[in-house]
């Protein structure tokens, strides 16, 4: 009886005991989730895989802002150690601001819409916010608090 509950593992394999158990539990739960979904789909008369009706992003999501954010963050992080914290922040925090405040009208830039290409007032605000906070954070953390910055 006692041996029934005994786990046999060697000291050199002890790092794999818990990951295997947790992995097993996760697979079990995943199967449960699939069954739960299958049951619900059957009850509601929906197909299990509904690729046509499936929408990952919300309707009319802002493609430019979403993918733009991702691209800017990736580029920012990639260049952080290359050109260092302050220059990288000045460039990319400004780009993020511009991306969100619509101060550059891309549609107008490519001649697809009427109106001015650049709205100067928000652009100026973006520049000001970028400079004040980038320099502020860089000075406060890097110099005053002596925290390691890229």
């Amino acid at each position: 009886m006692k041996d029934l509950f005994k786990l046999n593992y060697k000291y050199s394999d002890s790092h794999l005991v818990v990951p295997r158990i947790i992995g097993g539990i996760l697979i079990l739960l995943a199967v449960l989730l699939v069954i739960e979904r299958a049951k619900r789909c059957k009850k509601e008369g929906k197909p299990f895989f509904d690729l046509k009706g499936y929408r990952f992003f919300e309707k009319n999501y802002s493609k430019l802002k979403f993918w733009g954010s991702l691209a800017i963050l990736a580029a920012y992080f990639a260049l952080l150690e290359v050109i260092h914290f302050l220059p990288a922040s000045l460039i990319f925090i400004f780009l993020l601001n511009v991306l969100y405040d619509d101060s550059i009208n891309l549609a107008a830039l490519f001649g697809k819409a009427e109106g001015p290409v650049i709205r100067w007032k928000p652009l100026l605000t973006s520049a000001m916010i970028t400079v004040v906070f980038s320099v502020g954070v860089w000075y406060l953390f890097g110099t005053v608090f002596n925290i390691t910055l890229p």
Binding site: F5, K6, H15, V17, I25, L26, A30, Y61, Y100, T148
Partner: protein, 495 residues
């Protein structure tokens, strides 16, 4: 215990910034603390605590501004504040509603502070007797509670919790110094696994950024927003007959705080529905009655003290905000758990005093300059998020004094949190699993090694049986609640 003016200034800074994070919809108290953690590298623990607890109290309280003025909960925990706060504001009673909300917040906060002060030491005294078996079972219980109370699918909640544990196991196992689940390419960066701080910042700040970017960073519509000038003035008599309501709601909030992983929105919903069922005029709820407002706001501030109880006595965070606070303790080399109070009596007193001062400052900073404070909801988040990213980068990079991989893992966890939201996997259980996963493994292996590798270890001690009973209780509740929900769903479909 020393006390300086710096402490008050830090608490005031924390409360003020917290109110802003709380008031701007889409930004939360948790995010405020995650973003400001790196600042605490520069301070000693006491100063850091004044800042962090100020942020916590301010962040939870600020939510009522947006809830009442623009009908959007500024933080999830002020969800039910919109039900009665906004109708009051529409009637021209915005100032009255705001002041009722602020006073309720203060009372809820003070009530929970009292509970924290009274409950934590005895709980810690019990927990000191815990061995590896009990500690392991306690974490298991915490995870079942989270799953039981996570709305939607219980299985999904448990899955998220174990997924968090699984990811926390990546890296080196300290017993035999062997790495597991680490791709060869990252064997240097992932030796110690994913760091907590970048994970937190990613899950709470970067995820939010992606979600807001997806919906276009739109500002909350101010057109239907109400003005602060009032037709009916606030008076403390508004609380007449609401004494029991305040205490009941604050107690519910505190209790929900104590239960691990249960968020503020659950506290607010439960307190609101209880207030409604006990009320003499339940029909007034939702039309702008102070009763509902008082219930919601005293419960969500009740959360603040409550959530710290399990953190400081058992080492298990009561909600996601206190989970982030674990990060702060770790930064300063302090271990939270049963021995925390006896080993760090100074820090314990500091926490109580900081929480008290933060609550008072919250009241002073919101109640009197109300006209200016109300303008916070107009701060556009499209201007705040880029600055938040700036702070996030500083925080993630500083985690291990300059490891670029930590900045990337912040992005990875940000994407993970975003995908979680899409497939409706709750983040709170995942986070708690991730934080406690390492301990879970250590205690499990210790218990096994101490009992000749036999699983019987987990059934031998009476204290352990008590925790098993709690585990069975919460799983049972979860199944019952799930069935009830399904029945209601199918009944709703037939209608």
């Amino acid at each position: 215990m020393e006390f300086t003016l710096t402490f008050i200034l830090m608490a005031a800074l924390g409360v003020a910034v917290g109110i802003v994070f709380g008031a701007v919809p889409g930004m939360t108290a948790t995010m405020a603390i995650a973003v400001f953690l790196p600042l605490t590298y520069a301070f000693d623990m006491a100063t850091a605590l004044y800042l962090l607890l100020g942020l916590y109290v301010g962040g939870i309280s600020g939510g009522l501004l947006a809830a009442i003025l623009i009908n959007i909960p500024g933080t999830p925990s002020s969800l039910c504040t919109t039900f009665d706060g906004y109708p009051m504001a529409r009637r021209g009673e915005a100032e009255r509603a705001l002041k009722i909300g602020i006073v309720s917040s203060l009372m809820g906060g003070l009530f929970s502070l009292g509970c924290l002060w009274l409950l934590t030491p005895p709980l810690a005294r019990i927990a000191i007797k815990f061995g590896a078996v009990e500690k392991f079972l306690l974490i298991l219980w915490a995870m079942t509670v989270i799953a039981a109370l996570s709305k939607g699918s219980m299985v999904k909640g448990i899955f998220a919790g174990f997924l968090g544990v699984f990811i926390s196991l990546i890296g080196e196992f300290s017993d035999n110094n062997t790495m597991r689940m680490v791709p060869h390419l990252f064997r240097r960066e992932l030796r110690a696994g994913f760091q907590l701080l970048p994970a937190l910042i990613g899950l709470f700040a970067v995820t939010q950024l992606f979600q807001e970017a997806e919906s276009g960073m739109k500002a909350a519509s101010m057109d239907q927003g109400a003005d602060t000038h009032s037709t009916r003035k606030f008076s403390f008599r508004d609380f007449k007959g609401n004494g029991i309501n305040v205490i009941r709601s604050a107690a519910i909030g505190t209790l929900m705080g104590i239960l691990p992983g249960v968020g503020g929105s659950a506290a607010s919903i439960m307190a609101y529905s209880q207030a409604k069922s006990f009320s003499k005029h339940p029909e007034d709820f939702g039309t702008g009655t102070p009763e509902g407002l008082i219930a919601s706001e005293s419960s969500n501030n009740g959360l603040t003290g409550g959530a710290l109880v399990p953190l400081l006595s058992l080492g298990i965070p009561g909600d996601s905000t206190t989970a982030v606070m674990i990060g702060a303790f770790m930064l300063h080399g302090l271990q939270v758990g049963p021995l925390f109070i006896t080993q760090n009596p100074d820090i314990w007193n500091t926490i109580l005093l900081a929480l008290l001062i933060s609550n008072i400052l919250m009241f002073l900073l919101m109640f009197y300059p109300l006209k200016w404070v109300a303008k916070i909801v107009k701060i556009p988040k499209k201007r705040v998020f880029p600055v938040v990213i700036l702070m996030c980068v500083v925080g993630a990079y500083a985690t291990r004094s300059g490891v670029m991989f930590d900045v990337w893992s912040m992005l990875i966890f940000g994407a993970l949190g975003y995908i979680f939201a899409k497939i409706k996997l709750p983040v709170a259980p995942f986070l708690i699993g991730f934080i406690l996963g390492g301990d879970l493994e250590t205690y499990f292996m210790d218990a096994l090694n101490g009992h000749d590798k036999s699983l019987i270890a987990f059934f031998t001690r009476p204290l352990g049986w008590a925790i098993w009973a709690l585990i069975i209780l919460s799983v049972g509740y979860a199944i019952w609640d799930n069935r009830k929900g399904k029945k209601m769903e199918s009944a709703g479909m037939k209608d």
